[in-house]
Symmetry: C2
């Protein structure tokens, strides 16, 4: 990371202003409002550089493509809405889980993902209002 380009600033801003982890394509869409000619390759290159630089953290969820959020958050987990597919931070943690591993296995880290309805999407019982974003394409669904 050496030079400050309009592209990098737009990418950084897009992620900084999102209140949730973004997919590369979402970063592109947001950053293009600031830099119309921006290419997807530049987004990928900058995401990689910003992660290497410690400015961003990749967010990997099961069966999902990587998303990106600002680094600096402490240990946390994620919540994915089963309706709008968006991902949100969960600033809580079940704590030590080493007791769950089979004998002979050592636990050094863990990933946890919660699934359900976000506050914008109707909970199964008492629905409220429509989601703000359409579902993303992504791939793979969960059970």
């Amino acid at each position: 990371m050496e030079r400050n380009t309009r592209q990098r600033a737009a990418i950084r801003d897009a992620i900084a202003q999102a209140e949730r982890p973004l997919l590369p394509q979402e970063v592109l869409d947001a950053a293009q409002q600031q830099v119309p000619g921006l290419g997807i390759a530049t987004v990928y290159r900058n995401l990689k550089a910003l992660v290497a630089d410690g400015e961003l953290n990749p967010v990997m969820l099961p069966g999902e493509n990587p998303r990106f959020e600002l680094a600096g958050h402490q240990h946390h987990h994620h919540f994915q809405c089963l309706q709008c597919q968006r991902v949100f931070d969960v600033h809580a943690c079940p704590g030590d889980l080493s007791r769950l591993a089979p004998p002979g296995f050592s636990v050094e880290a863990h990933d946890l993902t919660l699934y359900g309805r976000c506050k914008d999407c109707a909970p199964p019982a008492s629905r409220r209002r429509a989601p703000k974003a359409a579902p993303h394409k992504h791939a793979h669904t969960h059970d």
Copy 2:
């Protein structure tokens, strides 16, 4: 799922005899010992059919390609070895995690992955013996 082919039997057997979730390529490698001409497309088609049929379950881990294991196991989680990258079942669960979600979010399901050293790979402190399998290509690390 209609006909019983040698290919499907070989694929089913490969997964049944593995004591852990397998990647499509691992399924191919194992099944080809029984049906040499087997193609990867046939593996993918059968994996999809067997999952639709309820015989197999896909195992999705963060940043990993889907693996497959026999269905029928009850709710469980997975452990991935940081050294050999192989995935193992964890027949334990932290239980209800709905308390972790932010207000307004409903939790319907969760995924948990533990990371560390499997019993074949040396634990950080008291190592024992070398791993039985070489690491797979992609790696991605976690927090």
